[in-house]
Each structure stands twice: as structure tokens, then as C-alpha cells.
Amino acid sequence: MIDTNAIGSFLLHAGIVVAVFAVLASLVGKRREDGRLMIAGERAGYALTGILVCASFLLANAFITHDYANKYVARYSDNNMPWYYLIAAFWGGQAGSLMFWSLVLAVCTAIVIYQNREKNRDILPTVLTVLMGMQAFFLVLMVVEANPFERFLINEPPINGRGLEPLLQNPAMTFHPPSILSGYVWFTVPFAFAVAALIHKRRDDAWIKTTRGYAVISWGLLSVGNLFGGMWAYQELGWGGFWGWDPVENASFMPWIVATAYLHSVMIQERRGLLRTWNFFLVLFTFFLTIFGTFLTRSGLIDSVHTFAQSDVGGYFVVLLGGLTIGSLMLLAWRVLDGTLRGGRDNATIDDPQAKALFEGPGKWKGWTLAFLCSVAAIVLWPAMAFVRADGSLPMDLFVVVLLCLFAWIIGPAVAVALRWRMDAKAGITDGGGVDSLASREGVFLLNNLLLLGLVGVVMFGTIGEKISAFLWQETKYTAPWFNAWMVPGGLALLLLMGVGPLIPWRKMTRKSFMRNFLVPTVIATIGTAALYFGDVYHLKTHVANTDIPIGEVPLGRLPLVAELTGIYALLGFWGAFFVFYTMVWEFLRGARVRSRSTGEGYFTALTRLTAKQKRRYGGYLTHIGFAGLFLGFIGTGLKTEQDLTFNAVGETHVLEDKVLEFTGFETEENREYSEWFAKFNVYQRNDDGSQGEFIAELWPSRRNYHGANVKMSRVTSEKDEIFLWKGNVYATLIAMKPRFNQAEIMAHYNPMILHMWIGGAILLFGVVFAVWPEQAKYPVFAAARRRRRKSVVEGAPAAQPLARARLD
């Protein structure tokens, strides 16, 4: 019999060789401007994709065929699991997650090579070097620390596996990890192009245009991944919420925030030629945060509810984080200082004798010496920490290194830019302009960026604060209330900016345009909010009346934490959501009207043609509409009610908000995996006079007892049931039951507007897909084929000329 695990292992080892070859070939090829070597590097990239696809297929096959000789398969699957959870078990553990990471990165690399076969030729080898370098890192990590093809040493494999944790057996969990991981991986491409553009002193927007799609897709995957994560928590953990500010959740949220900032600030560069340095910084930092997130979830440094992999890969990631920080920041600082990244539409480098003197003249060594000293300091620092540490525990000094990295990300770019400004001021060089007025489109984008970066700071501090505080004052855990105190007002500000953005013109807004653009949405949002308030929907009046800001009674720092602002926040949130929704929909309608007037097309034709022509813009607006929906869900979490209800007999009723719950008995069900007890309830509408109204639906929360292949895994889970309603969902979990006495205790939640949130998420996803949907005419395969055909007609030459590609621009 063929040992597929040995083949898999071999493929991984071969992958390392190929990746290292690709790195060397691209590096040397670029250095010597040797086209053949560069092509060889590209082909190695394709080869690696093939290798990893094969290896992944082998692993998936091992799961499907229940090959328990494989340790990983035996650990994460069992004979009872349906095929879709077997596939999900692929990324159920560390080794498989790394494998999946490698696979997606390989596919990405192949796409990049193919897309850029006729453009960006001069920077592609450097791009490949970065991509393949990352690939090599993950392959080495897999082979050394977490090989998914590791076999049991004994000859007789177990008959059955240990199975996947029941909590993870949920449809949302099948999508959540791959979307997050793919989101991380897709961002490697913008990162690689940014590095290459920096190395080769590119001032123009070519790298941004090439990687725009990747950035948007990455952002979309991260959004969807986080939404699925929230959905999983909402369905499976039974606490009626979807986001708990857990370190693991924050880990995937932080790169998302910075990526959001990037997607917006990039527009200022394309439009006005501003913020070059800032954009590079955002891309590099986002990538750093994706690795940081992986480190956080993998190293077990911060205790999380989702205690997953506490393994030895933490050290590897710290080295990677350190390397990324030093490399990225040095490169960025260098290009800032030599003036390559100055603002302005003009793409030529401004000739600057001072910069020349610093990097090319007799003083050339200053820059290099600085770089060298920094690297040495960093490399020495880590082992040095080993001597400093008190009790020999590794995570703490790993953490110090990470902390230093974070500090460097804040200080490094700021220092470089300040130095540059000083040098410019002395030399009398004015750069290409700035943001003239905050009341302009670029001003709004700028505010949005600052706000987003501020929010990242909050999330970052809340996540790793328990370690920092242990150093400085008293070890403190930062939990949801602390996060909410900052993130809720921050989110609301973001929502308002989202609505304001499209209404403000570039450069400067006049009073006239302000009145023209803002009057209608303001009035509509105000009327809508007032209607909700006076209708006392979700007890808004009570919430607003409860507003309490105890100024002077508590220390200033405590104020955000104890102020009771639910009502005010809800009103602001509704106002913002209405405003955004109206503005965005109006953008569509107005655009269609203008187009239909000028072209004479029908209204609907005009709408489809208009949006198809500017996919990115209108996809973005769709995403914003989705966000308005998401925010309704967020507001809902502030307005929810939660009740612990005990039913002592069949027919007993309890009231939950405007619903009446009637207990009707128990039901059981048994299957191969678990036995399940349902408590049954009829849910009725409650009339204003308190009487029981019409029947809505049945509610069957339950408790499951998993048999499990392994006795240790066998356990009880509580499964929620939910009724989806437009105004608010009824959600219940069964806490305790005594079927013999017909007694049941449930935790019943009334969750306002949760449905809007999921719909908003779907619209968001649709917007992203819409924005990146390829143009038919620009479809690379067809376009290339057409071009070749045309060329062969003109020149009468054969179409394919592979080596011609090696010519450089």
C-alpha cells in the first residue's frame, strides 16, 4: 500500500526547496537583470502551487477516507462526522490551519504571476521574493513544528478518531476559519507589492491599482469571516450576543480596521496624490497585524475563552514579527527620508541634494549605519531578554519583543516623517500640497483614518492590556464594558462620517453645496429618529430618561465606563443609520437620473449601466448600506432584554417584552451522534392591554448529550432556538430541565434588529463581490487571447513566444 502521509510529508519538504529556489532565483535574477532566472522563479511559483494543491488534496483525502494512521486526522475527526465537517476538520487544528494558509498563499501567488505576465515586470521578481519568503516560513513551520502528515509511530492505527469539538460543529464554523485565514493571506499580495514599490522607488499608483482587488477581497473575507465568527458565537455559545471582545476575536478585528482605513485613504492618493507615506504605512501595518493576530491566537500568550492552540510556534511568530517590523519600518523610513514619498500629483522624484547627500553622497553610510545598528539592537535584544526574565517563563519576554515592535510601529514612521519635514523646511521645499479643509472629501477620509487608527489603538490596548497593566500597575482584565465605552462612540462617529462622506465634494465645500446636499438627509434622519422615539419603540423613552453622566462624582477616567448613555447612543445610531441609508440609496437614484437624462436611456437601464461602469464606487456604497444594517444590530444589543424564566407546569405562561411564552411540554430525539431533549414553547403576540394575542411560532430550545467516540469528549451542550422577526428576535436557551416534573428553566432574550444585522452582512458581502467583479472586456484571459490574435494577424508571426516575456520594460 502506498503511504500517502509519507508522500504528503515529502511534498512539504519539496515545497521548501522550491520556495527557497524561487526566492533565490528572483533575487539574483533581478540583481543581474537576468530574464531567464526571473522566469525560472515564476515557474517555481507555479510549481509550488501544484505541490501544495496536491498535498492539500492528500490531507483532505485522509480525512474523507478516515486514515487514522495520520495523527492529525485521528485527532480532529471520527467515523460519525458528516462529510462537510470532515472537510472543516481540515482547518480544525494548528497543522491544518497552516496548511490551508500555505495553500491559499500558493494559489494567490499563481494568480499574481499570471496577472502580471505583461505588466509590472520590473517589480515582479521582488514581489515574488516576498511572497515566496512568506511561503517558505510557513512550510518550515509546518515541517518542524506542526506537520499535518505526522504518523503514529506504532503500526496499528486507532480504529476511530477523537472527533471535532462539538461546539465547532456548526455551519458558520465551517466558513469562519477559512474566510479569516484567506483574508489574512490575500493581504500578503498588497504587502508584497508595497515592499517591492518601496524598494524600487515607485512613486506612482501602479502598485495600488494592481493590488486594489486583492485588498478589497481581503477586506471582504475578513468582514465575512468576522461576521461568521459572530454568527457562530450567537448560535452556539447561547449567551444571546455575537461579539464579546475576546482576544481571539480582536485578533482578526484589528487588521480589518486598518485595512478599512487603507481602502479609504488610498482614494485620496489616487485623486489628489496625497498621503503616499500613510498608505504604505497602512499596508505594511495591516500585514503586520495579520501576523500579530495569528501570533496572538497561536501562542496562548493571552488567555482567551477560545483557548486553542497553546503550542511552541509562538517563538517563530515573534521572530517573524520582529523581522517584519524592522524590515518594513526601515524601508519606509528610508524612502521617506530620501524624499521618494513626497506628496503631489507629479510622479517624478523631486531632486533633493540633501537626500542625495544622505544616501548617495559621502554621507551615504549614515543611513546604512543606522539601519545596521537597529538590526543589531533587535537581534541582540531577544536573547538578552532571556537573561532579564525572572522565572524562566518564555511568553513574557516574547511579549516584550512584541511590545517593542508595536512601539516601533507608532514611533518609527512619525520620527521619519518629522525629520523629512524639518529637512524640507530648511531646504525650502514645499511638497505637493495638503488637505486644505476638513470640510472636504479628503478631510472626511482623513478623519475616518485617524478615527480608525484610534480604534485600533483601543482594541490593541484592551487585548494586550492585561500584560501591560501587570507591568505598570495591577494586572487588569479589560472586558466588554471597557471596550464598549470607547468603541461605541467611536463606531457612531464612523457611522456619521460614512453618511457625510459622499455628500461632501473634493477640495472644499461651499455653504451652498452644504445646504443643497445636507438638508434633505438631515431632515429625513431626524424625522425617522423622532418617530421611533415618540413611538417609544424598544422603550427608547425610558432609555433616554435613564441617561446619566455623573460628572464630578467619579474620576475623569472612570466617566466613560459608568456613564449611562444607552438611550443617547441608540438615538444617534438610528439617526446615523437613517442618514447613511438615505444618502447611499440617493446616490444610486441620483446617478441613474442624471444618466438617463443625458443619454435618454430608461431609468432602470441607466441604473444598471451606471453601476456596472463604476463597480468600485457603487459596490462601496452597497457596503455602506450593509453597514447601516449592521449598526442597527449593534444598537439592538444595547436595547435588548434578557430574562431567566422558570416554568413549573405545562401551560404556564411568561411575558417577554411584547411576546407571551407558553410551555407545552418536552420532546426527545436520538441519533447517531447525540440524544437531544427539547423544551417546547408556543410564542404569542401580547396585546397592548396585556391579553394574549395571535400565535406566532413555536420555540424549541434544547440540550444535547453527545455520545462521542471518546468518553472524554462526551458532553452536554445547550442548543438555542430562535424566532426571526423583523422587529426583534426571540431567542431562548434551555438552562435546566426536569422532564419528569414538566419543569424547565430557560434564558429568554429579546434581541432587537438582529435580523437587520444579518441582512446588512449579506448586503455588505454582495457589495464587495460587486466591487471586485471583473470587467468583461478586461478579463485577462480573453484580452490576452485577443491581443495575441491581433498581433499574429498584424505580424503574421506565431502567437506564443514565451521567452519574449522576459524582456524588461
Binding site: 480544525g92 487544528g93 481571539v248 483557548t307 495591577q474 487588569t476 482584565k477 479589560y478 477616567g557 466613560p560
Partner: protein
């Protein structure tokens, strides 16, 4: 000639004004940032829950009575008291030292709560040293794989075994 200089003067004045405006804007922005940072750091030191081991919490004399804290320890064997039908639970948690910390909790107990188990209790410490809990989190040994305590890990390593489930978990 004089018109020219007048125009120049006006332009210069306007430029100076713009410069002044920029400077004021910068100062305002800086003040706002500093103020925000001050409140933020305040919330960082004042907010959150102090996290401590039982022994530390028992020994400490500086915990304000309204300060939310999180105490980790083991449920003392034989200390658990509750009455049928009541949601009030009383127990004590102990650490390595002798001193125990009494806990009063009014709410639903987690299924995996048991005497001897490791628990994390959230609440405030009253003047008599009782911890009035708002939440009790019990660690279930089989709930998640790979969640070995550092002590258990050290023990395994000391005895030359490789911790099982080392590569466990994932997203």
C-alpha cells in the same frame, strides 16, 4: 506702484492669517489628543477588572470595595452551600496558602462547577472580605483540548512526556 504694494501687503496679511489659523488648528488638535489620551489612560487604570490569585486577593488591603475584581482559585472542598430552589450559592475559594475567600453568588451556576475545580470569580470584595460575585466561570477539564495549565505542562515536561493535544485547537 503703491497699489501693488497694497495688494502685496494684503496677500502677505492673508498668508500670515492662514499661517496663524493653521497654528491654532494644530494646537487645538494637539490639546484634543492629549485630553483624549488622559481620559483613555484614566479608563485604563480605573476600568477593567483587577485580576488576582486568591492568596493575593486575601492578603491585599488596597482593593476598594466597589472595584470589580476577578479572582482565580479552587473551590474549597466541603464549602459549597445552597438551598433547593434558591439561586444563592455560597462557597469558598482557596489558593496555595491556607486562607480562604468566602464567595456569595446569586445567579445560575455553570454546569461544570464542582468542589475542587478551578474557578474564576468576578465580583467586588466587601469590607468583611467576602467576595460578592457577579459571575462564576468554571474551567471544565475536557471542554477544550490543549488548554493545559502551566503547572500541568511543567509537570509533563519534567517527567519527560510530551503534552497531549499540543497541536490542538485552531480557529
Amino acid at each position: 506702484m503703491s497699489e501693488d504694494t497694497a495688494a502685496q501687503d494684503a496677500a502677505r496679511e492673508q498668508a500670515a492669517k492662514r499661517e496663524m489659523f493653521k497654528r491654532v488648528r494644530l494646537v487645538v488638535a494637539l490639546l484634543a489628543v492629549v485630553g483624549l489620551f488622559y481620559v483613555f489612560m484614566g479608563s485604563a487604570t480605573e476600568g477593567g477588572q483587577w485580576f488576582m490569585e486568591v492568596d493575593e486577593a486575601v492578603a491585599s488591603t488596597t482593593i476598594p470595595t466597589d472595584r470589580p475584581i476577578r479572582v482565580k482559585g479552587n473551590v474549597a472542598p466541603g464549602s459549597y452551600r445552597t438551598t433547593e430552589g434558591s439561586t444563592v450559592h455560597r462557597f469558598a475559594i482557596i489558593g496555595k496558602a491556607e486562607a480562604a475567600m468566602p464567595v456569595v453568588y446569586d445567579g445560575a451556576m455553570p454546569d461544570v462547577f464542582a468542589e475542587g475545580r478551578e474557578v474564576v470569580v468576578e465580583g467586588t470584595r466587601k469590607a468583611d472580605g467576602t467576595l460578592v460575585a457577579t459571575e462564576v466561570i468554571a474551567k471544565c477539564p475536557s471542554k477544550y483540548e490543549g488548554g493545559l495549565s502551566p503547572e500541568a505542562r511543567k509537570h509533563l515536561e519534567a517527567t519527560g512526556q510530551k503534552p497531549a493535544g499540543d497541536h490542538a485547537g485552531g480557529y
